[in-house]
């Protein structure tokens, strides 16, 4: 039993719903109680889909238990077939149905429906949403994809995009353009946009572009083995990764590498002088493995940030992320415990978070700006405008998105210069963000605590508790907020390393000199 407040991933059947909802001509009969229908609103509200997910929930109730839940399942499956006439049906159980062991797969088989019926085994008490999507797509591919003649022109499948995916809609267009520039056409995009009959002709492609390992790696491996289709390992998020991707695709497809970078702006924007202030910004990166791996590389190599910590919530990518962390010389954080992520961020005190909507909330609470790089998604992650993460435009979008939460370069200097000004002070926040600026409260003069009195105990630092003296604490407040976390942390580390238990103004400036770069 594990106490959970917020979760990064839903249960595995929600992953299966993401596959089914992305597809056309497929129907999912899910053995589940009525309340599980809440999952429909993820698609209709968060993603603003204009149709109901193609999912029938059998809606068994307490009084059905032990009597006719199996009949109920068969009735629901028959009704769903009659009403929706899908090309194929997937059947499975939610967490509750798993416990009553009706075996939806076996039941569906006895019904002899005239379309392929694919049984899903998704262990709800062990696995989560991404596994559910990956396994569902794999089962669909395994049942429906057959060896077929290759297309005459070199072609690729784009695999991995699902409903409710982080920018999947726009990434498809971007990758399609990258391939088309090299003379490679797209055979099938799946699961999103495809129908069961499209799945049957996956084998006609010359290569698979594995866009999201989270949702399609098992299928990619199976197709490599059974249909002889190689797949790409590089995910083209960021400038460097996009160039590597182009080279990889060219090698797999045996064509000339070509990248039209005439619209690529990230490298120049990053070099232009206003970006100087980005140098060495300490960032913490967290999300799904694929996006974290890409974001860490962009952060260091393309933005000039310092990555002070990284991790992912999906254990399936743990090995990959450990390797990335090793390369970056930081501790990997592999956890789906929101509170643990919060504690880590608090301890690292980064100047910026590249995370999910969950970290955006952590950032809000801790006063740390955050840019969202990965699922779990929120209605804001489905902008009306074209907003991919992959390819050339993806790199441009990432530059803008990451810079937006930060205080602009020139503004940063002005804040420093006028930090004692009553309305132009650090609590006022960045000028380009909404929200009412707060006037700074007048410093209470006479009531200031005695300079030698300890004011607060800080988070435990290895080697015992370090105490800030009141005058040092006041001095720290004069440092602009966007570097204050760093100054606080550096000073505490410095003090701890020297066995200093009380931080005075002198300690603060000694630490500053020590860390000067």
């Amino acid at each position: 039993m594990k106490l959970t407040v917020w979760t990064y991933e839903g249960p595995p059947h929600v992953g299966a719903m993401r596959v089914a909802t992305g597809m056309k001509g497929l129907h999912y009969v899910l053995h589940a109680p009525q309340g599980d229908t809440y999952a429909d609103l993820l698609f209709t509200m968060i993603e603003r889909r204009n149709h109901r997910p193609p999912v029938t929930f059998t809606t068994f109730q307490a009084r059905d238990l032990g009597s006719d839940t199996a009949d109920l399942f068969k009735q629901a499956a028959q009704d769903a077939y009659d009403r929706f006439k899908p090309e194929a049906i997937i059947v499975g159980a939610s967490c509750t149905a798993e416990l009553i062991q009706d075996d939806p797969g076996g039941l569906a088989e006895t019904m002899g429906l005239p379309v392929p019926t694919i049984a899903l085994e998704l262990p709800s008490y062990q696995r989560k949403e991404n596994f559910g999507a990956d396994e569902t797509f794999f089962q669909i591919v395994r049942h429906l994809a057959k060896p077929v003649e290759k297309t005459a022109q070199v072609s690729a499948n784009l695999i991995g995009p699902t409903a409710l995916g982080f920018r999947h809609r726009d990434d498809i267009d971007e990758v399609t353009a990258l391939l088309s520039d090299m003379g490679i056409s797209v055979n099938v995009v799946a699961p999103m946009t495809s129908s069961p009959s499209d799945i049957a002709r996956l084998g006609a492609a010359h290569l698979n572009v594995l866009m999201y390992p989270e949702t399609a790696e098992t299928a990619a491996r199976w197709m490599e083995r059974e249909l002889g289709i190689p797949f790409t390992k590089v995910v083209p998020i960021g400038v460097g990764a996009t160039r590597d991707f182009v080279a990889e695709v060219a090698a797999l497809a045996n064509v000339e590498p070509y990248l039209d970078d005439s619209r690529l702006r990230l490298p120049w924007y990053s070099r232009s002088v206003d970006s100087t202030y980005l140098t060495g910004k300490r960032v913490f990166v967290f999300g799904d493995g694929t996006h974290v791996k890409a974001a860490a590389r962009i952060a260091r190599d393309e933005m000039g940030f310092e990555v002070v910590g990284l991790g992912c919530y999906n254990r399936e990518q743990a090995r990959e992320i450990r390797a990335v962390a090793k390369e970056f010389g930081v501790e990997p954080l592999i956890t789906d415990d929101y509170l643990e992520v919060e504690r880590t961020i608090e301890a690292l005190a980064p100047e910026m978070i590249l995370g999910t909507q969950m970290e955006r909330h952590i950032g809000k609470r801790l006063g740390i700006p955050c840019a969202v790089i990965s699922a779990p998604v929120h209605v804001q992650d489905f902008p009306a405008r074209y907003s991919p993460q992959m390819g050339i435009e993806g790199a441009n979008v990432i530059f803008d998105t990451w810079v937006h939460p930060l205080v602009m370069g020139l503004e940063e200097h002005l804040l420093t210069m006028f930090r004692e000004d009553f309305e132009f002070h650090d609590d006022a926040g960045a000028s380009h963000h909404g929200g009412k600026a707060l006037l700074r409260a007048e410093e209470e003069g006479s009531s200031a605590p005695d300079a030698s009195e300890p004011v607060a105990t800080m988070a435990p630092v290895p080697g015992g508790e370090v105490i800030w003296l009141a005058d040092a604490e006041r001095e720290l407040k004069k440092i602009p907020f966007f570097v204050r976390g760093k100054a606080r942390r550096n000073t505490e580390t410095y003090a701890a390393s020297r066995g200093v238990m009380q931080i005075s103004v002198d300690t603060l400036y000694e630490a500053k000199a020590h860390y000067a770069r």
Binding site: M1, T4, T7, G35, D79, R83, S124, Y125, Q357, H361
Partner: protein, 428 residues
């Protein structure tokens, strides 16, 4: 101006045959009630004993991560818990122990049953009794079911309130108990109106804190502010309290009828009643009239959601000039909504339970001007050109009593006004 409690109209829907269908439902389970209950009871924690699905539902229904550390959480059952039940009880003790030591502010802990905990027959009542002993006197542990195999959406609040009734101390004091978790501002309005009439003492269930000295007994009369409190109603009657039946306090008419029923119980004379209600009634009428301009003559179709459907249909048809085509409710408790059914003019289909596909067929055929439905159906219906009102907002927004009557009407008129405002086609 002396409106009497409306008498049962011969044209009402109380005896209209109810259409009952069995198929897929498109509703939340009772766990959802935790989202508003935990805001209302400030020293309570709601611990769902369930699966990842339950945790995901709470998160999705809460509009994703609003609060730093909300006073609810899910003890997610894992494979090892399913293997042996004795272990699950020990595990629960451990999780609760950790939770309470981290949250010393918690005085009431609700163990909330889910589908998985019920299917494996994890006895949460036993656990609650044991844990109450362990953590007495600081924390009281109760249990109720919010599972989707037992409860629909607002029935979770009903189960929660009902679980509190048996442990309330006995009192012989004559008192009025208002039952239902309302936003504070609305609750204060109701209490103030009744106090001005000299009704009292007035107590509220749920009380904001566990240590309030709320008691119950044969001299307690109670009025429900929500139509979905059937089990709570039964539990209160078992304790000897008496129910004041009335239409629910939605709109000017409903609020007046509800107040009148309570006032009659306490012997308030007409002059006093009119003096207290006259000004807010006039305000409510005026505010409703504004929205009614948009709503009048339009048709409405209710999908089942919160059990508020029948009182709201009564409000929309009688005060806003709408016609009801179908009024679907997840569950119809005639002892509670009978007075509203009496006032609802015959004509609409009254349906209980759901086969969502068949109901969608009826809805599409009828093409109502406004469809009241859950979040899973709203955008798909809008995409088919039908104006919708998402029902969950009716539970999350202050809509009861006079001062909110206009807001309530506004919730229904806004989608129609919006549909009229948007012009995204070429001018031609």
């Amino acid at each position: 101006m002396t409106d009497q409690t409306p008498v049962r109209a011969s044209t009402g829907c109380r005896d209209t045959p109810v259409l009952k269908q069995r198929g897929q439902r498109e509703v939340f389970c009772g766990l959802t009630g935790i989202i508003w209950l935990h805001r209302k009871m400030q020293d309570a924690f709601f611990l769902v004993v369930g699966s990842r699905t339950c945790a995901h539902l709470l998160q999705s229904a809460a509009g994703v991560m609003i609060f730093a550390e909300p006073r609810f959480g899910t003890a997610i059952l894992e494979e090892t818990d399913l293997a042996g039940l004795a272990d699950a009880q020990t595990e629960l003790d451990r999780v609760v122990g950790e939770l309470l030591s981290r949250r010393p502010d918690i005085r009431q802990l609700f163990l909330v049953g889910s589908c998985p905990s019920e299917v494996i027959k994890l006895d949460l009542q036993l656990a609650a009794e044991r844990l109450t002993e362990q953590h007495a006197p600081h924390v009281r542990v109760l249990n109720f079911s919010g599972s989707g195999i037992e409860t629909t959406f607002t029935q979770g609040e009903d189960a929660c309130l009902a679980s509190m009734v048996p442990v309330l101390p006995k009192t012989d004091a004559r008192q009025l108990l208002l039952v239902g978790a309302l936003p504070d501002v609305v609750e204060e309005q109701a209490v103030s109106l009744l106090e001005q009439m000299g009704v009292g003492p007035i107590r509220v269930l749920p009380a904001p804190r566990a240590d309030s000295d709320l008691g119950l007994g044969e001299n307690t009369v109670f009025a429900l502010t929500q139509p979905f409190l059937g089990d709570t109603h039964a539990a209160l009657e078992r304790r000897g309290a008496r129910h004041i039946a009335a239409p629910f306090p939605f709109g000017e008419e409903g609020t007046t009828a509800w107040l009148r029923a309570v006032a009659d119980e306490f012997g308030v004379d007409d002059a006093t009643f009119d003096r207290v209600t006259e000004a807010p009634r006039a305000r409510a009428r005026k505010a409703v009239a504004q929205a009614a301009q948009t709503l009048s003559g339009k048709s409405v179709f209710f999908f089942p959601d919160s059990q508020l459907e029948i009182p709201l249909a009564r409000f929309l048809t009688r005060e806003c000039g709408m016609t009801a085509i179908e009024v679907g409710a997840p569950f119809i408790h005639k002892a509670l909504v009978g007075p509203d059914l009496d006032l609802l003019e015959q004509g609409p289909v009254i349906s209980e339970g759901q086969d969502v596909d068949l109901q969608l067929d009826r809805c599409r055929a009828a093409r109502p001007d406004l469809t009241v439905c859950g979040l899973g159906l709203a955008n798909p219906l809008e995409a088919e050109g039908m104006a919708t009102k998402w029902a969950i907002e009716l539970v999350f927004t202050p809509v009861h009593f006079y001062e909110q009557a206009g807001d309530l009407a506004g919730l229904f008129s806004r989608p129609l006004r919006r549909a009229g405002l948007l012009k995204v086609e070429a001018a031609e």
